[in-house]
């Protein structure tokens, strides 16, 4: 079975073809970062306009280069409604014209299952830390479609906190990677930043207070030597990483599972990878990161998730796009 995957939930247009037994046989990704940079963040209307401009030519190329698919999987949510509608409309129309099954895929499940495409794939059950610009979740993945939310952010997502803090420090959009680059040149320990919710039990997160602490710390600086920016970026990164590592440890301890899968754009952060690696070693568990190209939004993870569900007997159903679609509302195929 060959599945065409379409991802348009936010600011990346992704198309890929997943072939059973082989893996990803074709993939293309168009990032809108340059389009949104001058606005300091994603502008939903511009994102939707760009998706409708890019998507059809990408699908044309996929068909020409990877051949005819047997099914179509498209992201139905969570995400920006206008952006999701582009992929949903094109995907369902294409499938209808060829009488193919069309499957609405949950974007978060796409991320969560992406590491299963790798060579050292985890086996259910495992714990997932999903950290991106839109989400920060700890999830127990018991089986395909059977997910239990262990913790989530009460305010900003970790990636969002990176972007907003970078903006406070005068770094260009998207600030997360820029902040990490700046932090690499800074010294740790100069600023006393909070570790939100670390003193409370459970696996929930909160990052808005940390961002505010950075704002106040920055205001106290009198300009002059700019080295404080790098030091502050470093301390901010240390604080976020420490919280993510400790909450992940608690999730592993609470479930008793021996594998932690890390997904989402922030999974590309080098210091987070180091921190989680050290924690996993201490705990005697395995930590699995998807390939860098699978950390950010992409069509491959949607094609793959669609294939898994279809192969497990899921029947296509009329689907709507959903701005919110929590993982724990999903069900295993056939239920």
């Amino acid at each position: 079975m060959k599945v065409l995957g379409i991802e348009t939930s936010c600011d990346e247009t992704g198309v890929a073809v997943y072939q059973e037994g082989t893996g990803i046989v074709w993939e293309a990704l168009y990032s809108q970062i340059a389009l949104h940079r001058e606005y300091g963040g994603v502008v939903p209307e511009l994102a939707s306009r760009d998706h409708v401009r890019r998507l059809a030519p990408m699908v044309e190329r996929a068909l020409a280069e990877a051949g005819a698919p047997d099914a179509v999987a498209w992201t139905a949510g969570p995400g920006l409604i206008g952006a999701l509608l582009v992929g949903a409309s094109l995907g369902t129309a294409f499938a209808a014209a060829r009488a193919l099954p069309a499957l609405a895929v949950n974007h978060l499940e796409g991320h969560l299952l992406a590491p299963l495409m790798g060579e050292d794939a985890p086996e259910f059950p495992f714990v997932v830390l999903l950290v991106s610009g839109g989400h920060t979740l700890l999830v127990e993945a018991r089986a395909l479609g059977a997910y239990r939310l262990l913790g989530t952010t009460l305010d900003d997502a970790a990636g969002e906190a990176f972007d907003k803090t970078a903006s406070l420090l005068g770094l260009p959009y998207p600030g997360g990677p820029e902040l990490a680059r700046l932090a690499a040149t800074g010294r740790a320990g100069g600023f006393d930043l909070p570790r939100p919710l670390l003193n409370r039990p459970g696996c929930d997160f909160s990052f808005s207070g940390l961002k505010t602490a950075v704002l106040y710390a920055a205001r106290k600086q009198d300009g002059g030597d700019d080295g404080w920016r790098a030091d502050l970026a470093r301390d901010f990164e240390e604080a976020v990483v420490e919280v993510l590592c400790e909450k992940s440890r608690r999730a592993l301890e609470a479930t008793g599972h021996g594998e932690l899968v890390v997904a989402g754009g922030v999974a590309a952060n080098a210091r987070l990878r180091e921190g989680l690696g050290r924690m996993a070693e201490r705990q005697g568990v395995r930590v699995i990161f998807p390939a860098p190209g699978l950390c950010t939004d992409n069509g491959a993870m949607i094609a793959h998730a669609g294939w898994r569900r279809l192969a497990a007997g899921e029947r296509p159903q009329p689907a709507k796009v959903r701005a919110r679609w929590p993982l724990d509302e999903l069900q295993s195929p056939g239920k």
Binding site: Y39, G40, E45, R49, A56, E60, A93, A97
Partner: protein, 219 residues
């Protein structure tokens, strides 16, 4: 010639199938219809006509201006269907479809097509149908109602936006008329015959309102 047309940019969503030598088959949905509802309707029209998607010569759509999400919905549906059926796409101006529908219904020669663009503005274009081929004598534009002046004879106004204009008494007006898929299909058949189709990936949406966000440096 078999054509499937979508119109979702202005008014209620509609789908039309025009097949060789047969009457148009139409479906009109409720406002804010989901893509899969519209697609099921399209599939129903095709099978009722005893056709398959592969029998389509091309797919047509209203390409705007209109509601932004509606413009994209129609284009993405047409693109997906055309890619699936392996045929090209013809995008039709929604203002032209509006004017032509009013012209056919009332026999008007010169039609100013006006759609409510919200935020106190209008999408507007003027067409002269007195001679063949029809002439666009006022290009599609986004305007403030108070800047519209009607100059010349025999003009009539069509579309939701006409209600926002302060018009001279006696000017023929139809504010209820709206573009639909049947009119889009009819206009697209002419465009297709004169080579106006494009591969699915080349259909251009027309929004007219392009300033939709303020750069952070100008806030």
């Amino acid at each position: 010639m078999n054509v499937l047309a979508f119109e979702t940019a202005a008014g209620r969503p509609s789908v039309c199938l025009r097949a060789d030598g047969r009457d148009a088959r139409n479906w009109v949905g409720r406002e804010r219809a989901d893509p899969d509802v519209i697609i099921r309707a399209a599939g129903g029209l095709i099978s009722e006509a005893g056709l398959a998607p592969a029998d389509l010569d091309f797919v047509a759509c209203g390409r705007g201006p209109g509601a932004f999400t509606g413009v994209r919905l129609g284009i993405a549906l047409a693109q997906g269907f055309a890619l699936g059926a392996g045929c090209p796409v013809v995008g039709v101006s929604d203002l032209l479809a509006l004017a032509w529908k009013a012209r056919c219904a009332r026999g008007w020669e010169r039609v100013l097509a006006v759609l409510d663009a919200r935020r106190g503005e209008l999408y507007l274009a003027g067409y002269d149908f007195s001679k063949s081929p029809a002439r666009e004598c006022m290009a599609e534009s986004l305007v403030k109602p108070e800047t519209v002046r009607i100059v010349g004879e025999n003009w009539a106004l069509a579309g939701s936006g006409a209600a926002l204009l302060d018009l001279e008494p006696g000017l023929p007006v139809d504010t209820a008329v709206a573009p639909d898929a049947e009119t889009v299909a009819e206009l697209a058949l002419r465009d297709f015959a004169s080579g106006g189709s494009v591969p699915a990936g080349k259909v251009e949406p027309i929004y007219l309102r392009d300033r939709v966000a303020v750069p952070s440096t100008k806030r």
